[in-house]
Amino acid sequence: MSDVMIAFSTVFTPLNFLLLACGVFGGIMIGALPGLTSTMGVALLLPITYGMKPESGIVMLLGIYCGAIYGGSISACLLNTPGTPASAATTLDGHPMAKRGEGARALTISTISSACGGLISGILLILIAPVIAKFALKFSATEFFALAVFGLSIIVSISNKSIAKGLGAGFLGLLLATVGLDDITGALRFTFGNSSLTTGFELIPAMIGLFAISQVFLRIENNARGEVVEQKKYSVIPTKSDLKTIATTATWSGVLGAFIGAIPGTGGDIAAFVSYNIAKRTSRNPEEYGTGCPRGIAASEAANNGTTGGTLIPLLTLAVPGDSTTAVLLGAFTLQGLQAGPTLFTQHADLVNTIFVGFMVANVLMLILGLVLMRFYVKALNVANWFITPAILILCVVGSFAINKSYFDVIVMFAFGILGYFLTKMKVPVSPIVLAFILGPLAEKNFRRALLISRGKYTVFFTRPLTVILFVLAIISLLLPTLKPLIDRAREKRKAKQ
């Protein structure tokens, strides 16, 4: 108990608390800007932590991490542009809710859910980190492939009315994700002699293009005279009804996010889509999803912030980063002369406790800042189109350019923007393309890796229990939209007979 009190007193020193608060605020701003990711934010500010004490620097970086993952939901809800890949699933219900005048409500729900997911993952981190780490390390190539397939089965969930169009978009996304250098054979696929395509299409410019640039085209087309949707007022404190609606979803999504985050190589984007799919599949009213359903926002946001604690589990216990941001955080440990892993708990127990407490406080600060600043964010929806559309365009260009300082990424962004515009006009959903972009490479790499390890024997995919479970979940997820109406009809017939 005294260790916990010491950790609290360390976090709440004026300097450390100020750094943590600035980290959370800065992270929220970074996450809200399309093109800037939590990884970028942490990487940019890592060097300034060199002169700080370990507890100050690492806690500040954690604040940026938590804030950035949440911050992506702001632009996802208000502008239909995910600020980070982790918020791509939030656009599915966040933006429709904002479009009908409930932007403040969407942001409040996302803030509460993000904080809930983060706090739950923090509790799991503190209580059972070694257990979860052991489970996460059981994941081999076959489990990663099965997880990716399960994730891709979500495409059916987010296909709206036409499953064929949604699946087609998913296959198009898978195809576009194969452009570039093949990791295993070294073949250059679909580059047509263009050296810029050697690394393929970057996810962030493609995502910005599909969501944001297509919106620029649509805003110019549809809203030439600056019409705005009137936003309903919503209290900073969420209503009891909304809290009751999202409580269960946010809780289990946070747990799911923590477990997925603990698996190295996954991240908030995968967790958000998986959680969204499960929420929709298990809902009594799945048709509400995609129209501005509170549980849809809660599932996505709780899961993506749930990964923030989850990714720290393998980092702290085994020195294995859970995602790209924690890979940079590992650099922070090295910069401070620390060795992450089991010895950290014995040799620097006080620092570990400070990290735990700092993480929890970061999520509380994120909740407070998010709710307080929410009314300012929502004002973005009330400003004239001529004010916001040019800003979106310019931020998209900067965001795409900033990743690799590459003009080619700007072209990619514009090309995907034009594609996104036409797909929207054809009533083809663009989210499946992004989902396939994220999961396609994971699926392909691990599928081929598994076959290489097993020397071409496909039975390797059916001999590991966890792999089989994930495949079964994927099949259920794919077949449920077709089977559910049949099951409901059979139930009604039975009721009518009785």
Partner: protein, 156 residues
């Protein structure tokens, strides 16, 4: 509209068929004989899926089934103007620089979107890109192109 579904499905079918045939060359790179681990496997699976789904949409379109409930026409004038703006933005970005190009694009878009107060257009076109430039260039060390202002803007 089923006409739009028809066009979309034919285009995607063409993309799928092209990708399927083109990816045949990747299967046996470095002598990894069986297609199960060749570089062409996933492109072929993806393009095969694209072909199948495009055929489904095509058949539905020919049978008169469509999920498009209302007319969503493409305003070609607006589309071409926006396309022209983004092409010009890209072409001018490096030689002219981020701030002047962004200011020009902002001004054009503001006018296109209905702002008619010239002083508002001028002030916002200059201030907004400048603020964004300062945040990213000085705050995050993103080396945005300076262009014609390279001798005026102090480097970070």
């Amino acid at each position: 509209m089923k006409k739009r579904d028809l066009i979309y499905s034919i285009l995607m079918l063409a993309v799928g068929v092209f990708a399927f045939i083109y990816s045949g060359q990747y299967n046996n790179v470095l002598g990894l004989g069986s297609g199960s681990t060749g570089g062409g496997l996933f492109p072929r699976m993806a393009s095969g899926g694209l072909i199948v789904t495009s055929l489904i949409i095509l058949v539905n379109a020919l049978r008169g089934k469509s999920d498009q409930e209302e007319k969503e026409s493409i305003k070609w004038n607006d589309f071409l103007i926006t396309l022209g703006i983004i092409i010009a933005y890209y072409l001018l970005l490096k030689p002219v620089g981020f701030i002047p190009t962004s200011a020009l694009v902002t001004g054009i878009l503001m006018y296109k979107l209905g702002c008619r107060k010239w002083w508002v257009i001028v002030i916002y076109s200059i201030i907004m890109p400048t603020i964004i430039f300062c945040i990213f260039y000085y705050g995050m060390y993103v080396s945005l192109p300076l262009g014609i202002l390279k001798d005026i803007i102090p480097k970070y």
